[in-house]
């Protein structure tokens, strides 16, 4: 079940509809990775991709320093249903395989959401 093909996970990744302002930049991302990837991997991947894309939009040529990229920059959510469209924060240590089994449980690509991590 879930978005798995063997050990590969299919993800549909979008900006959180309530926590992220809509702009032309928040495109839907269609991602595939291995089932052992964690939420932290996904968060770090997103931080790197967004940093690279923002740099490209600015016309920058210096690239992105990996030291500026962290899994802490973004929080990953999954829709947990309910009338109010509730979203559950995913722990960084969870593998995507576990997210699929514990939260998603349907045979289609895993749908996740991201938003900048709120400062404590």
């Amino acid at each position: 079940g879930g978005g798995e093909t063997g050990s590969e996970i299919e993800l549909v990744f979008r900006a959180h509809p309530l926590l992220v302002e809509k702009d032309g930049y928040s495109q839907t991302r269609y991602v595939k990775t291995t089932a052992n990837a964690t939420v932290d991997h996904l968060s770090k991947y997103l931080a790197l991709r967004i940093a690279l894309e923002e740099e490209a939009l600015r016309g920058g040529t210096e690239g992105v320093s990996l030291e500026d990229v962290s899994e802490k920059q973004y929080t990953i959510y999954i829709c947990s249903g309910g009338a109010g469209g509730q979203y559950t924060t995913l722990n960084g240590s969870l593998t995507l395989e576990l997210v699929n089994e514990k939260y998603w449980k349907v045979s289609k690509p895993l749908e996740l959401y991201y938003a900048p991590t709120k400062e404590q």
Partner: protein, 34 residues
């Protein structure tokens, strides 16, 4: 639209590969028969 970006990410000494496309068609598994 046919472009796929491949990125390796390391966290806690484990490296995984992410592949990203702009659209699902032709990229995700066809679930029409499921």
């Amino acid at each position: 639209p046919s472009e796929i970006t491949v990125t390796d990410i390391t966290s806690n000494s484990i490296t995984v590969t992410f592949r990203e496309a702009r659209c699902a068609e032709g990229f995700f598994r066809d679930r029409g028969g499921d």
